[in-house]
């Protein structure tokens, strides 16, 4: 059987997931942040220097404690995630920093006692090494109220689960050359985003039409001629500059214009007028420090060059030559492009992308937070010093600074650098939606511009980014999801790799004075030019061999570009990599023996890596490979072998059976809808308090499965049921994608789910000793509702469980102190009127009170959460979808006796319209129907994994074996007439998902109801019990029909009809004085004739607003007859 062979290596995939988990990238990234990067950030600050004579503070080791919470009463205890969720707490750890005050008295420095100071709380990622759940067994997890299948990888901030969505960015420190558009002022451009320690400094070199080259970089206004910059960096002679760029004559010719530009600053031969370098520096100095002395200008220019030009190479004066060499490299590339010797770089190539994971995002956030803390400490210390007291570091630290900074960014998603939406509320619709959310990647490109290339699927996405899972609409292609086997690098030590390169005979660039020479291949390490090598192919082979032997870190990837003769070595974080089997001399290194060891658990996935059987490749190194899809495709020059090709899909798309038989947009739709299906969100469902959640009563495992489901764990948290589906028209109730469901099936429990909503309320304390109170409000309370709204409340003002409630019923009775103190001083001795601030069931919803949680917030306030559940039996208008992008709403619930039946008595659960198939070409669904039927008869799930599942022939054989037509069709009899149907009906078993869009949540109608205060027109929207808009086009219809009275009725009588007094003399608004029972006009006086006119209230408002602008809008009244 073909299937057996093609997914032979599945055990390897399972061992991969065992090792890395489903959200391993987040966990590893966060662990690295805690273990290394946190300390690095502290080290980069290293010292606080307040403006106090002889007093500094050295920062030492930073420590992260296990997550804990300090209660309002001052007690402290470890915090477990579920407590944080329920009590609206933040799951965070205390950070302790070693601070050593240093005193300098003249020449003596004394280090005072080192103190460990609590500097703030750091939110902790669930299931990371710091998390209390780390390493727990299933039983322990359950004991702490956690779902053992929950992947972790998110944070809990104020009780809500937040994901840091992976950000896709252009790779830093890599030179990108591009051709410019016709309209721009330059012809070609070389760009690099030099990034170091969170500081991003773009450097661009433009080539003008005249051939001159100009450089721009941050903090220098305008663009500087290249040659002048090079001279400022220390390349004094024009020859040096040309040598650094290239030894190719053609390219050197291109430089003439540029070099001539720098002629004015060259030092004259007679020695007068300073050196060339100084002149060049002054040229820059004149731009950055206008109107200053020459000395200051020079110093300033040097500082700018060190700080803002290519900071990734270095920020010290020694690094300037290196920077010149790097610029030379940029220019060479640019000119090669100009001369047609090289192609423009592909921005969308995944080698040019880096993903920023939660760890990286936290580094940049923490850096800013620590900076503001040190600034605050400095300020506090200086303040105490000014008052003449001894500075005390312990009292100068305010832990709030870091805590609030981190918490605020995580709670709102507003990150440093102005990025919004970085942290998102974890999608808990079902298990798949949570997983998919944790594996999401967003691109910072704007949604409003087309960016067609950036949205397109790129060939380098293969195996890294799911080709199907992306939203439709404005975010299409910008929001992506990583593929099953993709793994993101966390970065290793660069120095070790550089050393390894030097050992492999790379000649350092400094040693050659920047002269690279055309014969030598340039060697880059993380985008930085480190040297040249004479035999790049040998170098690449040697490095790969050493990596496979474990001598250098396996995170290192190396690629040689033959056309441009350069070697790219990468070991930085954020590269998407995927594992492949190494093939050597036409022989796969993964033998059946290895496979057996993996299967039997003797070996883990890491053993395969360690033994050089498999390796991770990034997009760059993949360019050097020839990867065989299946073992039989291996040729003599094959370098690698895919494990299983279907792992190019992401989590969501991997659930589709037979996706290779579907039209591709259908798979995209399915990948989107899988995240909306009602299932089992988590096994601790009953102890969770999500605002909205759904729970499916009888979830079933799909009869037609894919192998990926095992690794994902879909079968433990399924979100659908196997429906018996007949493709048939039935009285026309299923046209236009409607579905007909069997009423009897629903009676027996098909498609039932429960919807839960949690309402919460807190007893807040106000300044002035006032407090909220949970109670049954008194009649005298302002805003008192109808007394029956409170009928189910207990004595404590909180509702009892298992009580049926409807829209408007109060769940938590609460009163608050008056908002303004004046309110009760205005009238004589009215008692302080409290306000009614109860929480009631939402309008239009109903249900049963499921549970009441009474707890305490961090401030010691009482907090109540009430969960209301509502049984959702499938009804007309509920949405269902199969796994092939075939969605529809229920159009009719047919009685069982009316539906057609087979001779065995099988009646369809669902009748699908035949028109749903041909234009959409979802052959996968047809196959699923056959496979589902075969699976039920065979007593075994059928494998529909893409490219390696069962074939049609096998399915046909199974059906025939069990006495069915191989076509899947059956003779049926009409349930209405009893006659045999003229034609056979295609009937089978399909996995259908219930989507969370249900009519019960959407149904809306209104007769009378609330109006807006300002315009007195009906409110808008279902939540506000709003009216249904009778819009322009509807108005046109009535005009067209001449239905004037109806039109008036809709737009005036049923909307904001009101009467207005108008003075007939002046045409302005009149007044009625109720005290005197008199009509008068403010202009013409009481003698004027005042008439009452029916107008729209909005019109009256318009008149008054115009009056306020000083316009007199006069109405001329006339008798109607």
């Amino acid at each position: 059987m073909v299937g057996e062979r093609r997914d032979k290596y599945w055990p390897v995939i399972e061992s991969f997931f065992k090792e890395y988990g489903l959200v391993g990238q987040h966990l590893d990234s966060f662990n690295r942040f805690i273990r290394e990067e946190l300390q690095q950030v502290v080290d980069s600050v290293s010292e606080i220097k307040p403006k106090i004579e002889g007093y500094t503070v050295a920062l030492g080791k930073i420590e992260v404690h296990p997550p804990s919470i300090r209660e309002a009463d001052g007690s402290e205890h470890p915090l477990y995630p579920n407590e944080a969720r329920i009590r609206n707490l933040t799951y965070a750890s205390k950070l302790l920093l070693e601070c050593t005050p240093i005193r300098r008295d003249g020449s003596t420095t004394t280090r005072l006692e080192t103190v460990r100071i609590y500097i703030g709380d750091l939110p902790i990622m669930l299931r990371s090494e710091t998390c209390l759940l780390h390493g727990m067994t299933e039983e322990e997890l359950i004991k702490h109220g956690e779902d053992p299948k929950d992947p972790g990888g998110y944070f809990i901030i104020n009780g809500s689960e937040r994901v840091l969505v992976t950000q896709e960015d252009l790779a830093p420190n890599r030179i990108l050359i591009e051709e410019a558009s016709k309209s721009s002022s330059y012809t070609h451009i070389a760009k690099v985003f030099s990034t170091s320690r969170g500081f991003r400094a773009p450097v661009t070199i433009e080539r003008k039409r005249t051939g001159e080259l100009r450089v721009s970089f941050p903090s220098v206004p305008g663009k500087i001629p290249l040659a002048i910059l090079m001279k400022a960096l220390g390349l004094e002679s024009d020859k040096d500059i040309a040598d650094v760029i290239s030894d190719d004559e053609e390219i050197r010719n291109e430089l003439i214009v540029t070099i001539e530009q720098s002629a004015p600053i060259n030092a004259p031969r007679d020695g007068s007028g300073g050196s060339t370098v100084e002149n060049a520096l002054d040229f820059i100095g004149k731009r950055v420090a206008v109107g200053q002395t020459r000395e200051y200008r020079l110093a300033r220019a040097e500082k700018v060059l060190d700080r803002y030009l290519l900071p990734h190479i270095g920020t010290e004066p020694e690094d300037r030559l290196q920077k010149a060499y790097y610029l030379g490299q940029m220019v060479e590339r640019l000119l090669e492009l100009v001369l047609g010797k090289r192609q423009p770089d592909d921005k969308d190539h995944y080698a040019n992308k880096r993903l920023k994971l939660s760890g990286d995002l936290l580094v940049s956030l923490f850096r800013v937070a620590l900076y503001s803390l040190t600034r605050d400490i400095k300020y506090q210390l200086e303040r105490t010093a000014v008052r003449g007291r001894k500075p005390n570091i312990r009292t100068a630290v305010r832990a709030d600074v870091i805590t609030q900074r981190l918490k605020h960014a995580l709670a709102t998603g507003n990150w440093v650098g102005g990025k919004a939406g970085v942290s998102q509320l974890l999608d808990r619709t079902n298990y798949i939606s949570s997983l998919s959310h944790l594996r999401r990647v967003v691109s910072p490109l704007s949604r409003s511009q087309p960016h067609f290339e950036a949205r397109d699927l790129h060939s380098t996405h293969w195996g890294k980014v799911c080709p199907n899972e992306t939203p439709e609409g404005p975010n299409c292609g910008l929001v992506k999801n990583i593929a099953m086997m993709a793994y993101i690098s966390v970065g290793t030590n660069e120095d070790a790799v550089e050393q390894a390169l030097m050992q492999a005979d790379v000649e350092a660039i400094e040693a050659r004075q920047g002269r690279r020479g055309a014969k030598w291949a340039d060697v880059f390490l993380n985008g930085r030019l480190v040297g040249v090598h004479a035999a790049p192919k040998l170098l690449v082979r040697a490095i790969r061999q050493r990596r496979r032997a474990g001598e250098i870190d396996q995170e290192v990837n190396i690629a040689y570009y033959e056309d441009t003769n350069e070697v790219q070595v990468n070991c930085d974080a954020g590269r998407v990599r995927r594992p492949l089997i190494i093939v050597e001399n036409g022989q796969s290194r993964l033998t059946d023996e290895h496979l057996r060891m993996i299967e039997e658990g003797e070996w883990t996935f890491n053993d395969l890596l360690r033994n050089g059987i498999m390796e991770f490749l990034d997009a760059e190194e993949e360019e050097n490979t020839l990867i065989a899809m299946y073992p039989e495709d291996i040729r003599p020059n094959t370098t690698h072998l895919e494990i299983v090709p279907s792992t190019i899909l992401g989590i969501s798309a991997a659930l589709i059976p037979f996706p290779e038989h579907n039209q591709s947009p259908r798979n995209v739709y399915m990948a989107g809808m899988a995240k909306q299906s009602v299932g089992v969100p988590a096994s601790n469902f009953k102890f969770r308090a999500d605002t909205r959640s759904h729970f499916f009563h009888y979830p079933q495992v799909p009869l037609v499965k894919t192998r990926a489901m095992d690794s994902i764990g879909y079968e433990e948290r399924p979100a659908g049921q196997n429906f018996i589906v007949a493709i048939l028209s039935f009285e026309g109730y299923n046209i236009e994608d409607a579905l007909i469901l069997n009423k009897a099936s629903i009676d027996r429990g098909l498609g039932r789910s429960t919807f839960c909503r949690v309402y919460e309320s807190e007893e807040r304390k106000y300044p002035g000793g006032q407090e909220d109170r949970f109670e049954i409000p008194d009649r005298s309370v302002r805003g008192y509702r109808a007394s029956e709204s409170y009928r189910n409340l207990g004595e404590d003002g909180i509702i009892e469980t298992e009580v049926e409630v409807q829209g408007g019923d109060v769940l938590i009775g609460r009163t608050s102190p008056p908002r303004f103190l004046e309110e009760y001083s205005e009238f004589e001795i009215t008692s302080p009127n409290r306000r009614e601030t109860s929480v009631a069931v939402r309008h239009g919803e109903s249900g049963v009170v499921d549970s009441v949680i009474l707890t305490e917030t961090i401030d010691g306030n009482r907090l109540v959460k009430v969960k209301v559940r509502d049984l959702r039996i499938p009804e007309l208008g509920d949405k269902y979808a199969s796994r092939h992008g075939q969605k529809g709403v229920i159009g009719y619930l047919a009685p069982q006796e009316d539906l057609p039946f087979t001779e065995d008595g099988v009646v369809p659960d669902l009748v699908l319209n035949p028109h749903a198939i041909p234009s959409r070409m979802t052959i996968g669904q047809i196959l699923e129907m056959i496979a589902g039927k075969a699976a039920a008869m065979e007593g075994k799930q059928q494998d529909a994994t893409p490219f390696c599942g069962v074939t049609e022939e096998e399915l046909f054989g199974l059906l025939k074996k069990h006495g069915f037509q191989h076509t899947g069709r059956e003779t049926m009899y009409s349930g209405v007439t009893g006659e045999k149907l003229k034609t056979d009906v295609f009937i089978g078993c399909v996995y259908y998902m219930k989507l969370h869009h249900m009519v019960a949540d959407k149904i809306h109608a209104r007769a009378r109801g609330p109006v807006q205060i300002l315009t007195r027109q009906p409110t808008e929207g279902r939540a506000r019990e709003g009216g249904l808009r009778f819009g322009e086009m509807e108005r046109d219809v009535l005009i067209g029909h001449g239905a004037a009275i109806l039109l008036k009725g809709r737009l005036l009588d049923e909307s904001d009809k009101s009467t207005m007094l108008v003075c007939e003399e002046c045409g302005l608004i009149g007044v009625y004085d109720r005290n005197k029972d008199q009509y008068y006009c403010p202009i013409c006086g009481p003698s004027a004739r005042i008439s009452s006119v029916v107008v729209s209230y909005a019109f009256k408002l318009l008149l008054q607003e115009m009056m306020s602008l000083g316009l007199a809008c006069r109405l001329r009244l006339k008798e109607m007859i």
Partner: protein, 266 residues
């Protein structure tokens, strides 16, 4: 009309009916599905439920448990003297009181205690809910008669279906014994009887005509008897299958009589 029982077990009966048309056969089928009352729990009073299952789910499950029905001693609530309020003539109370000890415990349908020893669950070991240690259930349930028209739980049958009785004929003169039709038939109706095409178990033929399509000559014709039907009736256990058919026939007769009376009165 002639009825011949082909196959009969405790809960299932297959019979051939001759001399009726499709409309009548269907009327009988529909009557069995929707008009024949059975007794089923319809109202549940949950006094205590500390299990993980929601009350409404548990109530729904209780409703689906088929009860052995005694049609003679109970009235349909609408036809009862109490006018549907519920009395001992139209209602039977069942109670369920279970508490799990230190072990997990599955609550089965047999744990239901009926007021009337005749009205008991048709199947003993239907798991209703699982109780974790020390969880408990106290439930009072009221069973009543009802018909499948109201809710599918009242249906006395697990399925009722019929098929036309096939006539498979082979024109041997046109057959070249290529064997394609033998291969293709999923029910193995056709076989090679020593060089000639023969038929067997023709009652199994599902009239799919796939054999006709496989043979270009038109050597095989599949037809069916217009007046004979093979019924398959499977009971849920509430009533014996034969009684279901008999009672359904009576109800059908009554209803036809009502229609006739009405027609005659016009």
């Amino acid at each position: 009309m002639e009825v011949r029982i082909v196959h009969k077990t405790e809960n299932e009966v297959h019979f051939l009916v001759e001399g009726i048309n499709a409309a009548f056969a269907n009327a009988l089928r529909r009557t069995m599905l929707t008009r024949l009352p059975t007794m089923v729990i319809d109202e549940v009073l949950i006094l205590e439920n500390t299990s993980v299952m929601y009350d409404e789910v548990l109530a729904h499950r209780l409703g689906l448990v088929p009860l052995v029905t005694d049609l003679t001693s109970y009235n349909l609530p609408d036809e009862c003297d109490c006018e549907g309020k519920g009395c001992s003539l139209c209602q039977c109370t069942l109670t369920l009181e279970v508490e799990a000890g230190d072990e997990e415990r599955v609550v089965y349908s047999r744990d239901l205690n009926s007021q009337n020893p005749k009205i008991v669950p048709a199947a003993d070991n239907i798991p209703l809910v699982k109780l974790a240690p020390h969880q408990c259930l106290i439930i009072e349930a009221y069973a009543r008669l009802g018909t499948g028209r109201e809710n599918a739980k009242f249906q006395p049958v697990a399925t009722v279906a019929y098929k036309n009785v096939p006539i498979v004929s082979v024109d041997k003169s046109k057959c070249d014994m290529c064997g394609a039709c033998i291969d293709v038939c999923p029910k193995r109706i056709l076989w090679n009887d020593g060089g000639t095409l023969a038929t067997q178990n023709t009652l199994d033929c599902s009239l799919c005509e796939i054999c006709v399509k496989s043979c270009e000559v038109g050597a095989i014709t599949i037809d069916y008897k217009k007046d004979t039907f093979l019924f398959k009736v499977e009971s849920t256990g509430a009533l014996p299958p034969v009684e279901i058919v008999e009672r359904a026939a009576e109800i059908l007769k009554e209803r036809i009589q009502i229609a006739l009376d009405f027609a005659n009165s016009l």
